[in-house]
Symmetry: C2
Subunit: 291 residues, 2 copies
Protein backbone atom coordinates (compact mmCIF):
# COMPACT_ATOMS: atom_id res chain seq x y z
CA UNK A 1 0.00 0.00 0.00
CA UNK A 2 2.94 2.35 0.40
CA UNK A 3 3.68 3.27 -3.17
CA UNK A 4 7.16 4.79 -3.44
CA UNK A 5 9.35 5.54 -6.44
CA UNK A 6 11.77 2.85 -5.23
CA UNK A 7 9.11 0.14 -4.99
CA UNK A 8 6.84 1.16 -7.85
CA UNK A 9 8.19 -1.33 -10.40
CA UNK A 10 7.90 -4.22 -7.91
CA UNK A 11 4.38 -3.24 -6.88
CA UNK A 12 3.05 -2.90 -10.41
CA UNK A 13 4.93 -5.97 -11.62
CA UNK A 14 3.39 -8.06 -8.81
CA UNK A 15 -0.08 -6.95 -9.93
CA UNK A 16 0.47 -9.08 -13.06
CA UNK A 17 1.41 -12.24 -11.11
CA UNK A 18 -1.95 -13.85 -11.86
CA UNK A 19 -1.82 -13.29 -15.64
CA UNK A 20 -3.36 -16.44 -17.18
CA UNK A 21 -0.81 -16.71 -20.02
CA UNK A 22 2.86 -17.04 -18.95
CA UNK A 23 4.12 -15.13 -22.00
CA UNK A 24 1.70 -12.26 -21.34
CA UNK A 25 2.91 -12.18 -17.74
CA UNK A 26 6.56 -12.12 -18.83
CA UNK A 27 6.00 -9.28 -21.32
CA UNK A 28 3.83 -7.15 -18.99
CA UNK A 29 6.25 -7.51 -16.08
CA UNK A 30 9.28 -6.69 -18.24
CA UNK A 31 7.41 -3.73 -19.75
CA UNK A 32 6.64 -2.48 -16.23
CA UNK A 33 10.24 -2.75 -15.05
CA UNK A 34 11.77 -1.02 -18.08
CA UNK A 35 9.07 1.67 -18.25
CA UNK A 36 9.46 2.55 -14.56
CA UNK A 37 13.27 2.56 -14.89
CA UNK A 38 12.92 5.01 -17.80
CA UNK A 39 10.56 7.28 -15.83
CA UNK A 40 12.79 7.20 -12.74
CA UNK A 41 15.80 8.13 -14.85
CA UNK A 42 14.30 11.09 -16.72
CA UNK A 43 11.93 12.22 -13.91
CA UNK A 44 9.34 13.83 -16.22
CA UNK A 45 7.36 16.71 -14.78
CA UNK A 46 3.57 16.30 -14.95
CA UNK A 47 3.66 18.81 -17.83
CA UNK A 48 6.16 16.64 -19.75
CA UNK A 49 4.11 13.53 -19.00
CA UNK A 50 1.06 15.29 -20.44
CA UNK A 51 3.07 16.09 -23.59
CA UNK A 52 3.99 12.40 -23.90
CA UNK A 53 0.32 11.37 -23.54
CA UNK A 54 -0.62 13.93 -26.20
CA UNK A 55 2.17 12.66 -28.48
CA UNK A 56 1.02 9.04 -28.28
CA UNK A 57 -2.60 10.09 -28.81
CA UNK A 58 -1.78 12.07 -31.94
CA UNK A 59 0.36 9.21 -33.23
CA UNK A 60 -2.69 6.95 -32.93
CA UNK A 61 -4.91 9.52 -34.61
CA UNK A 62 -2.43 9.76 -37.52
CA UNK A 63 -2.83 6.03 -38.26
CA UNK A 64 -5.29 5.28 -41.05
CA UNK A 65 -5.93 2.37 -43.39
CA UNK A 66 -3.01 3.50 -45.54
CA UNK A 67 -0.64 5.10 -43.00
CA UNK A 68 0.85 3.44 -39.92
CA UNK A 69 2.52 6.11 -37.78
CA UNK A 70 3.31 3.71 -34.90
CA UNK A 71 5.27 1.45 -37.28
CA UNK A 72 7.08 4.55 -38.50
CA UNK A 73 7.82 5.48 -34.87
CA UNK A 74 9.13 1.97 -34.19
CA UNK A 75 11.25 2.28 -37.35
CA UNK A 76 12.93 5.59 -36.47
CA UNK A 77 13.59 4.40 -32.91
CA UNK A 78 15.39 1.36 -34.35
CA UNK A 79 12.93 -1.02 -32.67
CA UNK A 80 11.66 -2.62 -35.89
CA UNK A 81 15.23 -3.33 -36.96
CA UNK A 82 16.08 -4.72 -33.51
CA UNK A 83 13.09 -7.10 -33.56
CA UNK A 84 13.99 -8.20 -37.09
CA UNK A 85 17.63 -8.72 -36.08
CA UNK A 86 16.74 -10.74 -32.97
CA UNK A 87 14.33 -12.91 -34.91
CA UNK A 88 17.02 -13.88 -37.43
CA UNK A 89 19.81 -14.34 -34.86
CA UNK A 90 19.37 -18.12 -34.89
CA UNK A 91 20.52 -18.22 -38.51
CA UNK A 92 24.13 -19.32 -38.87
CA UNK A 93 26.64 -16.95 -40.34
CA UNK A 94 26.59 -17.08 -44.10
CA UNK A 95 22.88 -16.60 -44.71
CA UNK A 96 21.87 -13.25 -46.21
CA UNK A 97 20.91 -10.93 -43.34
CA UNK A 98 17.33 -9.72 -42.99
CA UNK A 99 16.25 -6.11 -42.76
CA UNK A 100 12.95 -4.26 -42.32
CA UNK A 101 9.89 -5.10 -44.44
CA UNK A 102 8.78 -1.46 -44.64
CA UNK A 103 5.23 -0.20 -45.24
CA UNK A 104 5.02 -0.58 -49.03
CA UNK A 105 4.64 -4.36 -49.43
CA UNK A 106 0.88 -3.83 -49.34
CA UNK A 107 0.01 -5.19 -52.80
CA UNK A 108 0.89 -8.47 -54.50
CA UNK A 109 3.79 -8.17 -56.92
CA UNK A 110 2.82 -9.16 -60.49
CA UNK A 111 4.33 -12.43 -61.78
CA UNK A 112 7.04 -11.67 -64.32
CA UNK A 113 9.47 -13.63 -66.52
CA UNK A 114 13.22 -13.58 -65.91
CA UNK A 115 14.68 -10.63 -67.81
CA UNK A 116 11.44 -8.62 -67.74
CA UNK A 117 11.53 -5.01 -66.66
CA UNK A 118 9.63 -3.89 -63.56
CA UNK A 119 9.88 -0.27 -64.75
CA UNK A 120 6.60 0.45 -66.51
CA UNK A 121 7.27 4.18 -66.91
CA UNK A 122 10.82 4.80 -68.11
CA UNK A 123 12.87 7.98 -67.95
CA UNK A 124 15.34 7.20 -65.15
CA UNK A 125 18.73 5.49 -65.25
CA UNK A 126 18.32 1.94 -66.61
CA UNK A 127 19.41 -0.74 -64.19
CA UNK A 128 20.03 -4.49 -64.40
CA UNK A 129 19.98 -6.69 -61.28
CA UNK A 130 21.14 -10.30 -61.38
CA UNK A 131 21.83 -12.83 -58.68
CA UNK A 132 21.82 -16.41 -57.58
CA UNK A 133 19.90 -18.09 -54.79
CA UNK A 134 21.90 -20.75 -52.95
CA UNK A 135 21.83 -22.53 -49.62
CA UNK A 136 24.52 -21.99 -47.00
CA UNK A 137 26.54 -24.88 -48.51
CA UNK A 138 26.57 -23.13 -51.90
CA UNK A 139 24.02 -25.40 -53.62
CA UNK A 140 21.80 -23.55 -56.09
CA UNK A 141 18.10 -23.28 -55.20
CA UNK A 142 16.06 -23.56 -58.43
CA UNK A 143 12.41 -22.45 -58.43
CA UNK A 144 12.94 -19.99 -55.57
CA UNK A 145 10.48 -17.09 -55.57
CA UNK A 146 12.08 -13.65 -55.68
CA UNK A 147 9.64 -10.89 -54.77
CA UNK A 148 11.05 -7.41 -55.50
CA UNK A 149 9.65 -3.92 -55.04
CA UNK A 150 11.21 -0.48 -55.08
CA UNK A 151 10.62 3.27 -55.31
CA UNK A 152 11.07 4.91 -58.70
CA UNK A 153 13.85 7.31 -59.73
CA UNK A 154 12.03 10.15 -57.92
CA UNK A 155 11.71 8.17 -54.66
CA UNK A 156 8.02 7.18 -54.86
CA UNK A 157 6.33 3.77 -54.80
CA UNK A 158 3.45 3.01 -57.17
CA UNK A 159 0.90 2.97 -54.30
CA UNK A 160 1.91 6.53 -53.34
CA UNK A 161 1.17 7.85 -56.84
CA UNK A 162 -1.83 5.95 -58.17
CA UNK A 163 -2.57 8.79 -60.59
CA UNK A 164 0.81 8.82 -62.33
CA UNK A 165 2.33 5.34 -61.81
CA UNK A 166 0.67 2.23 -63.26
CA UNK A 167 -0.29 -0.43 -60.71
CA UNK A 168 2.61 -2.84 -60.17
CA UNK A 169 5.25 -0.35 -61.32
CA UNK A 170 8.52 -1.18 -59.58
CA UNK A 171 7.24 -4.62 -58.52
CA UNK A 172 7.86 -8.14 -59.77
CA UNK A 173 7.57 -11.73 -58.64
CA UNK A 174 10.26 -13.86 -60.30
CA UNK A 175 11.15 -17.56 -60.16
CA UNK A 176 14.79 -18.60 -60.17
CA UNK A 177 15.98 -20.85 -63.03
CA UNK A 178 17.50 -24.36 -62.83
CA UNK A 179 20.74 -22.94 -61.50
CA UNK A 180 19.05 -20.73 -58.91
CA UNK A 181 19.61 -17.59 -60.96
CA UNK A 182 17.35 -14.59 -61.39
CA UNK A 183 17.71 -11.37 -63.45
CA UNK A 184 15.51 -8.44 -64.25
CA UNK A 185 15.57 -4.87 -65.53
CA UNK A 186 14.44 -1.79 -63.63
CA UNK A 187 15.29 1.86 -63.01
CA UNK A 188 17.85 3.02 -60.46
CA UNK A 189 15.83 3.79 -57.29
CA UNK A 190 16.23 7.08 -55.43
CA UNK A 191 16.70 7.93 -51.74
CA UNK A 192 13.50 9.25 -50.18
CA UNK A 193 12.20 10.78 -46.94
CA UNK A 194 9.70 9.24 -44.54
CA UNK A 195 6.51 11.32 -44.24
CA UNK A 196 7.38 14.18 -41.85
CA UNK A 197 3.97 15.86 -41.59
CA UNK A 198 3.01 13.81 -38.49
CA UNK A 199 4.31 13.02 -34.97
CA UNK A 200 7.31 11.04 -36.32
CA UNK A 201 8.39 14.15 -38.25
CA UNK A 202 8.21 16.10 -34.96
CA UNK A 203 10.38 13.50 -33.22
CA UNK A 204 13.00 13.55 -35.99
CA UNK A 205 13.11 17.37 -35.84
CA UNK A 206 13.37 17.34 -32.04
CA UNK A 207 16.14 14.75 -32.37
CA UNK A 208 18.11 16.79 -34.90
CA UNK A 209 17.72 14.02 -37.50
CA UNK A 210 16.96 13.91 -41.24
CA UNK A 211 14.09 11.70 -42.45
CA UNK A 212 15.83 9.99 -45.40
CA UNK A 213 16.35 6.39 -46.40
CA UNK A 214 19.18 5.55 -48.84
CA UNK A 215 18.17 4.11 -52.24
CA UNK A 216 17.32 0.39 -52.07
CA UNK A 217 15.45 -2.46 -53.72
CA UNK A 218 13.32 -4.68 -51.47
CA UNK A 219 13.56 -8.48 -51.70
CA UNK A 220 11.65 -11.36 -50.14
CA UNK A 221 13.27 -14.62 -51.23
CA UNK A 222 11.60 -17.95 -50.50
CA UNK A 223 12.70 -21.50 -51.30
CA UNK A 224 11.06 -24.72 -50.17
CA UNK A 225 12.73 -26.19 -47.08
CA UNK A 226 14.62 -22.98 -46.32
CA UNK A 227 14.16 -19.95 -44.09
CA UNK A 228 12.90 -17.15 -46.30
CA UNK A 229 14.54 -13.74 -46.01
CA UNK A 230 13.05 -10.23 -46.10
CA UNK A 231 15.84 -7.88 -47.04
CA UNK A 232 17.10 -4.97 -49.18
CA UNK A 233 19.85 -4.44 -51.74
CA UNK A 234 21.17 -0.96 -50.90
CA UNK A 235 22.74 1.20 -53.61
CA UNK A 236 26.30 1.68 -52.35
CA UNK A 237 26.78 5.22 -53.70
CA UNK A 238 23.37 6.48 -52.56
CA UNK A 239 22.99 9.55 -50.37
CA UNK A 240 22.29 8.70 -46.71
CA UNK A 241 23.88 5.23 -47.01
CA UNK A 242 25.61 5.87 -43.65
CA UNK A 243 22.58 7.35 -41.88
CA UNK A 244 19.43 5.46 -42.91
CA UNK A 245 16.76 6.96 -40.65
CA UNK A 246 15.35 3.48 -39.91
CA UNK A 247 18.80 1.87 -39.30
CA UNK A 248 18.19 -0.89 -41.86
CA UNK A 249 21.59 -0.83 -43.60
CA UNK A 250 23.86 -3.82 -43.01
CA UNK A 251 27.31 -4.10 -44.56
CA UNK A 252 26.49 -7.30 -46.48
CA UNK A 253 23.46 -5.61 -48.06
CA UNK A 254 25.36 -2.65 -49.53
CA UNK A 255 25.73 -3.52 -53.20
CA UNK A 256 27.81 -1.89 -55.91
CA UNK A 257 25.46 -0.60 -58.61
CA UNK A 258 28.24 -0.16 -61.18
CA UNK A 259 27.92 2.26 -64.07
CA UNK A 260 28.39 0.44 -67.41
CA UNK A 261 29.03 2.47 -70.58
CA UNK A 262 29.57 -0.43 -73.02
CA UNK A 263 26.71 -0.47 -75.61
CA UNK A 264 27.29 -4.20 -76.31
CA UNK A 265 26.82 -5.02 -72.62
CA UNK A 266 23.69 -2.85 -72.59
CA UNK A 267 22.30 -4.64 -75.65
CA UNK A 268 23.00 -8.04 -74.07
CA UNK A 269 20.80 -7.03 -71.09
CA UNK A 270 18.13 -5.32 -73.20
CA UNK A 271 18.86 -1.79 -71.92
CA UNK A 272 20.62 1.31 -73.29
CA UNK A 273 24.06 2.55 -72.18
CA UNK A 274 24.98 3.99 -69.80
CA UNK A 275 23.22 1.77 -67.25
CA UNK A 276 23.76 0.50 -63.73
CA UNK A 277 24.56 -3.14 -63.05
CA UNK A 278 24.17 -4.85 -59.66
CA UNK A 279 24.82 -8.43 -58.62
CA UNK A 280 22.90 -9.49 -55.50
CA UNK A 281 23.34 -13.12 -54.46
CA UNK A 282 21.07 -14.45 -51.73
CA UNK A 283 21.98 -17.28 -49.36
CA UNK A 284 19.20 -19.11 -47.51
CA UNK A 285 19.56 -21.43 -44.55
CA UNK A 286 17.90 -24.88 -44.68
CA UNK A 287 15.11 -25.21 -42.12
CA UNK A 288 16.49 -28.47 -40.69
CA UNK A 289 19.69 -26.71 -39.66
CA UNK A 290 17.69 -24.56 -37.28
CA UNK A 291 19.04 -24.57 -33.73
CA UNK B 1 26.57 0.51 -40.43
CA UNK B 2 26.68 -2.91 -38.82
CA UNK B 3 23.46 -2.91 -36.84
CA UNK B 4 23.52 -5.70 -34.22
CA UNK B 5 21.29 -6.39 -31.24
CA UNK B 6 24.23 -5.65 -28.96
CA UNK B 7 24.96 -2.24 -30.51
CA UNK B 8 21.42 -1.17 -31.43
CA UNK B 9 20.83 1.08 -28.40
CA UNK B 10 24.18 2.85 -28.90
CA UNK B 11 23.59 3.34 -32.63
CA UNK B 12 20.09 4.75 -32.25
CA UNK B 13 21.02 6.82 -29.20
CA UNK B 14 23.93 8.39 -31.15
CA UNK B 15 21.47 9.41 -33.88
CA UNK B 16 20.00 11.88 -31.38
CA UNK B 17 23.37 13.48 -30.50
CA UNK B 18 22.53 16.62 -32.51
CA UNK B 19 19.13 17.25 -30.87
CA UNK B 20 18.86 21.05 -30.51
CA UNK B 21 17.32 20.95 -27.01
CA UNK B 22 19.42 19.22 -24.29
CA UNK B 23 16.33 17.97 -22.42
CA UNK B 24 14.86 16.49 -25.63
CA UNK B 25 18.20 14.78 -26.28
CA UNK B 26 18.29 13.36 -22.72
CA UNK B 27 14.73 12.02 -22.92
CA UNK B 28 15.08 10.55 -26.45
CA UNK B 29 18.37 8.85 -25.61
CA UNK B 30 17.04 7.41 -22.33
CA UNK B 31 13.87 6.26 -24.12
CA UNK B 32 16.03 4.52 -26.73
CA UNK B 33 18.17 2.71 -24.15
CA UNK B 34 15.25 1.49 -22.02
CA UNK B 35 13.10 0.55 -25.03
CA UNK B 36 15.91 -1.48 -26.61
CA UNK B 37 16.71 -3.16 -23.28
CA UNK B 38 13.03 -4.17 -23.00
CA UNK B 39 12.96 -5.55 -26.55
CA UNK B 40 16.23 -7.45 -26.05
CA UNK B 41 14.88 -8.98 -22.84
CA UNK B 42 11.52 -10.19 -24.16
CA UNK B 43 12.68 -10.88 -27.76
CA UNK B 44 9.26 -10.32 -29.37
CA UNK B 45 8.57 -12.24 -32.56
CA UNK B 46 7.54 -10.11 -35.54
CA UNK B 47 3.99 -11.36 -34.92
CA UNK B 48 4.09 -10.12 -31.29
CA UNK B 49 5.56 -6.81 -32.43
CA UNK B 50 2.67 -6.44 -34.89
CA UNK B 51 0.23 -7.07 -32.02
CA UNK B 52 1.94 -4.34 -29.99
CA UNK B 53 1.69 -1.89 -32.92
CA UNK B 54 -1.99 -2.77 -33.29
CA UNK B 55 -2.56 -2.32 -29.53
CA UNK B 56 -1.03 1.17 -29.49
CA UNK B 57 -2.97 2.14 -32.61
CA UNK B 58 -6.29 1.05 -31.13
CA UNK B 59 -5.43 2.84 -27.87
CA UNK B 60 -5.00 6.04 -29.88
CA UNK B 61 -8.24 5.44 -31.76
CA UNK B 62 -10.10 4.97 -28.45
CA UNK B 63 -9.11 8.49 -27.33
CA UNK B 64 -11.81 11.11 -27.89
CA UNK B 65 -12.63 14.53 -26.49
CA UNK B 66 -14.11 12.85 -23.40
CA UNK B 67 -12.04 9.67 -23.06
CA UNK B 68 -8.26 9.44 -22.70
CA UNK B 69 -7.22 5.80 -23.07
CA UNK B 70 -3.47 6.56 -22.98
CA UNK B 71 -3.88 8.25 -19.57
CA UNK B 72 -5.81 5.18 -18.44
CA UNK B 73 -2.98 2.98 -19.74
CA UNK B 74 -0.43 5.09 -17.88
CA UNK B 75 -2.63 4.80 -14.78
CA UNK B 76 -2.94 0.98 -14.77
CA UNK B 77 0.80 0.61 -15.46
CA UNK B 78 1.50 2.74 -12.38
CA UNK B 79 3.30 5.37 -14.47
CA UNK B 80 0.97 8.25 -13.59
CA UNK B 81 1.42 7.49 -9.89
CA UNK B 82 5.20 7.23 -10.31
CA UNK B 83 5.40 10.62 -12.07
CA UNK B 84 3.19 12.16 -9.37
CA UNK B 85 5.33 10.61 -6.62
CA UNK B 86 8.61 11.77 -8.15
CA UNK B 87 7.27 15.29 -8.62
CA UNK B 88 6.34 15.59 -4.92
CA UNK B 89 9.52 13.92 -3.61
CA UNK B 90 11.05 17.30 -2.78
CA UNK B 91 8.38 17.86 -0.14
CA UNK B 92 9.59 17.18 3.39
CA UNK B 93 8.01 14.45 5.44
CA UNK B 94 4.90 15.69 7.14
CA UNK B 95 3.12 17.23 4.16
CA UNK B 96 0.02 15.33 2.96
CA UNK B 97 1.11 13.03 0.12
CA UNK B 98 -0.17 13.61 -3.39
CA UNK B 99 -1.93 11.05 -5.53
CA UNK B 100 -3.36 10.94 -9.05
CA UNK B 101 -5.65 13.67 -10.38
CA UNK B 102 -7.80 11.23 -12.33
CA UNK B 103 -9.92 12.01 -15.40
CA UNK B 104 -13.01 13.51 -13.73
CA UNK B 105 -11.73 16.95 -12.69
CA UNK B 106 -13.00 18.28 -16.01
CA UNK B 107 -15.54 20.82 -14.73
CA UNK B 108 -15.23 23.63 -12.20
CA UNK B 109 -16.56 22.72 -8.77
CA UNK B 110 -19.40 25.03 -7.63
CA UNK B 111 -18.55 27.42 -4.79
CA UNK B 112 -20.26 26.22 -1.57
CA UNK B 113 -20.51 27.34 2.06
CA UNK B 114 -18.93 25.37 4.90
CA UNK B 115 -21.46 22.78 6.05
CA UNK B 116 -23.25 22.61 2.69
CA UNK B 117 -23.94 19.24 1.15
CA UNK B 118 -22.41 18.31 -2.21
CA UNK B 119 -24.99 15.51 -2.60
CA UNK B 120 -27.76 16.98 -4.74
CA UNK B 121 -29.60 13.66 -5.18
CA UNK B 122 -29.91 11.82 -1.84
CA UNK B 123 -30.58 8.16 -1.21
CA UNK B 124 -27.16 6.84 -0.20
CA UNK B 125 -25.47 6.68 3.19
CA UNK B 126 -25.10 10.23 4.58
CA UNK B 127 -21.54 11.26 5.23
CA UNK B 128 -19.81 14.14 7.02
CA UNK B 129 -16.23 15.12 6.24
CA UNK B 130 -14.31 17.58 8.38
CA UNK B 131 -10.71 18.60 8.52
CA UNK B 132 -8.13 21.26 9.12
CA UNK B 133 -5.57 22.76 6.77
CA UNK B 134 -2.23 23.50 8.42
CA UNK B 135 1.36 24.07 7.41
CA UNK B 136 4.11 21.60 8.29
CA UNK B 137 4.74 23.50 11.55
CA UNK B 138 1.09 23.00 12.59
CA UNK B 139 -0.05 26.56 11.96
CA UNK B 140 -3.63 26.79 10.64
CA UNK B 141 -4.09 28.05 7.09
CA UNK B 142 -7.26 30.18 6.96
CA UNK B 143 -8.84 30.97 3.56
CA UNK B 144 -7.38 27.86 1.93
CA UNK B 145 -9.41 26.60 -1.04
CA UNK B 146 -10.61 23.02 -0.73
CA UNK B 147 -11.81 21.61 -4.05
CA UNK B 148 -13.60 18.25 -3.62
CA UNK B 149 -15.20 15.87 -6.10
CA UNK B 150 -16.36 12.28 -5.85
CA UNK B 151 -18.42 9.49 -7.39
CA UNK B 152 -21.91 8.90 -5.99
CA UNK B 153 -23.06 5.88 -3.94
CA UNK B 154 -23.36 3.85 -7.19
CA UNK B 155 -19.80 4.70 -8.32
CA UNK B 156 -20.58 7.32 -10.98
CA UNK B 157 -19.47 10.95 -11.37
CA UNK B 158 -21.93 13.63 -12.45
CA UNK B 159 -20.25 14.02 -15.85
CA UNK B 160 -20.77 10.31 -16.55
CA UNK B 161 -24.53 10.56 -16.00
CA UNK B 162 -25.67 13.96 -17.30
CA UNK B 163 -29.22 12.62 -17.69
CA UNK B 164 -29.71 11.52 -14.07
CA UNK B 165 -27.25 13.54 -11.96
CA UNK B 166 -27.54 17.35 -11.72
CA UNK B 167 -24.46 19.29 -12.85
CA UNK B 168 -22.08 19.76 -9.92
CA UNK B 169 -23.41 16.77 -7.99
CA UNK B 170 -20.61 15.44 -5.81
CA UNK B 171 -18.52 18.58 -6.29
CA UNK B 172 -17.80 21.59 -4.09
CA UNK B 173 -15.29 24.40 -3.71
CA UNK B 174 -14.93 25.39 -0.04
CA UNK B 175 -12.88 28.01 1.78
CA UNK B 176 -11.36 27.15 5.16
CA UNK B 177 -12.39 29.30 8.15
CA UNK B 178 -10.19 31.44 10.42
CA UNK B 179 -8.79 28.33 12.08
CA UNK B 180 -8.10 26.56 8.79
CA UNK B 181 -11.10 24.27 9.23
CA UNK B 182 -13.48 22.95 6.56
CA UNK B 183 -16.55 20.70 6.80
CA UNK B 184 -19.23 19.53 4.41
CA UNK B 185 -21.91 16.90 3.95
CA UNK B 186 -22.04 14.33 1.19
CA UNK B 187 -22.93 10.70 0.44
CA UNK B 188 -20.56 7.78 1.06
CA UNK B 189 -18.81 7.18 -2.31
CA UNK B 190 -18.63 3.74 -3.87
CA UNK B 191 -15.79 1.74 -5.43
CA UNK B 192 -16.00 1.69 -9.22
CA UNK B 193 -14.33 0.09 -12.25
CA UNK B 194 -12.31 1.84 -14.94
CA UNK B 195 -13.91 1.51 -18.40
CA UNK B 196 -12.99 -1.98 -19.64
CA UNK B 197 -14.51 -1.87 -23.13
CA UNK B 198 -11.24 -0.64 -24.69
CA UNK B 199 -7.56 -1.63 -24.95
CA UNK B 200 -6.92 -0.99 -21.22
CA UNK B 201 -9.66 -3.51 -20.39
CA UNK B 202 -7.85 -6.03 -22.62
CA UNK B 203 -4.58 -5.39 -20.80
CA UNK B 204 -6.16 -5.83 -17.37
CA UNK B 205 -7.78 -9.11 -18.50
CA UNK B 206 -4.48 -10.34 -19.99
CA UNK B 207 -2.78 -9.38 -16.73
CA UNK B 208 -5.30 -11.25 -14.57
CA UNK B 209 -6.31 -7.99 -12.88
CA UNK B 210 -9.62 -6.43 -11.81
CA UNK B 211 -10.44 -2.87 -12.98
CA UNK B 212 -11.65 -1.41 -9.67
CA UNK B 213 -10.69 1.64 -7.67
CA UNK B 214 -11.54 1.71 -3.94
CA UNK B 215 -14.03 4.38 -2.78
CA UNK B 216 -12.44 7.81 -2.41
CA UNK B 217 -13.07 11.55 -2.32
CA UNK B 218 -10.77 13.75 -4.44
CA UNK B 219 -9.17 16.88 -2.94
CA UNK B 220 -7.12 19.72 -4.33
CA UNK B 221 -6.07 21.99 -1.47
CA UNK B 222 -4.41 25.34 -2.15
CA UNK B 223 -3.16 28.01 0.22
CA UNK B 224 -1.20 31.12 -0.63
CA UNK B 225 2.55 30.69 -0.21
CA UNK B 226 2.29 26.90 0.01
CA UNK B 227 2.65 23.93 -2.35
CA UNK B 228 -0.85 22.85 -3.25
CA UNK B 229 -1.70 19.15 -3.07
CA UNK B 230 -3.80 16.95 -5.38
CA UNK B 231 -4.85 13.94 -3.36
CA UNK B 232 -7.62 11.55 -2.23
CA UNK B 233 -9.23 10.55 1.07
CA UNK B 234 -9.72 6.79 0.69
CA UNK B 235 -12.53 5.02 2.56
CA UNK B 236 -10.65 2.58 4.82
CA UNK B 237 -13.27 -0.19 4.73
CA UNK B 238 -13.87 0.04 0.96
CA UNK B 239 -13.56 -2.98 -1.31
CA UNK B 240 -10.29 -3.00 -3.28
CA UNK B 241 -8.49 -0.75 -0.74
CA UNK B 242 -5.48 -3.09 -1.02
CA UNK B 243 -5.53 -3.40 -4.81
CA UNK B 244 -6.42 -0.05 -6.39
CA UNK B 245 -5.98 -0.69 -10.11
CA UNK B 246 -4.18 2.65 -10.53
CA UNK B 247 -1.93 2.19 -7.44
CA UNK B 248 -3.00 5.53 -5.93
CA UNK B 249 -3.51 4.38 -2.32
CA UNK B 250 -0.99 5.63 0.24
CA UNK B 251 -1.17 4.69 3.91
CA UNK B 252 -1.57 8.31 5.07
CA UNK B 253 -4.54 8.78 2.76
CA UNK B 254 -6.58 5.84 4.10
CA UNK B 255 -9.17 7.44 6.35
CA UNK B 256 -11.60 5.89 8.81
CA UNK B 257 -15.14 6.69 7.69
CA UNK B 258 -16.69 5.73 11.04
CA UNK B 259 -20.33 4.69 11.32
CA UNK B 260 -22.16 6.95 13.82
CA UNK B 261 -25.58 5.87 15.17
CA UNK B 262 -26.17 8.73 17.63
CA UNK B 263 -29.18 10.85 16.44
CA UNK B 264 -27.93 13.87 18.43
CA UNK B 265 -24.56 13.76 16.62
CA UNK B 266 -26.44 13.40 13.33
CA UNK B 267 -28.60 16.43 14.12
CA UNK B 268 -25.51 18.46 15.06
CA UNK B 269 -24.10 17.82 11.54
CA UNK B 270 -27.44 18.26 9.75
CA UNK B 271 -27.73 14.61 8.65
CA UNK B 272 -29.78 11.59 9.76
CA UNK B 273 -28.41 8.61 11.72
CA UNK B 274 -26.78 6.28 10.96
CA UNK B 275 -24.15 8.24 9.02
CA UNK B 276 -20.45 8.04 8.26
CA UNK B 277 -17.99 10.51 9.75
CA UNK B 278 -14.48 11.15 8.43
CA UNK B 279 -11.77 13.51 9.60
CA UNK B 280 -9.22 14.41 6.91
CA UNK B 281 -6.56 16.92 7.92
CA UNK B 282 -4.31 18.30 5.20
CA UNK B 283 -0.76 19.55 5.75
CA UNK B 284 0.83 21.85 3.16
CA UNK B 285 4.49 22.73 2.83
CA UNK B 286 5.48 26.41 2.58
CA UNK B 287 6.98 27.27 -0.80
CA UNK B 288 10.06 28.88 0.73
CA UNK B 289 11.05 25.57 2.35
CA UNK B 290 11.48 24.06 -1.11
CA UNK B 291 14.88 22.43 -1.62
Amino acid sequence: MDFTAEKSADIVSASFDAAPDPRAREVLQALTRHLHAFVREVRPSMAEWEKAIDYLTRTGWTCTGTRQEFILLSDVLGVTMLVETLESEHLTTGATPATVLGPFHMVTSPQRELGDTIDLVGGGTPCVIEGRITDTAGNPLPASTVDVWQADDKGFYDVQQPATQPEGNGRGLFTSDDEGRFWFRTVLPCAYPLPVDGPVGELLAAGGRHPFRPAHVHFIVEAEGHHSVTTHAFVADSAYIDSDTVFAVKRDLVIDFATVDDPAEAARHGVTAPFRYARFDVVLEPVDEEL
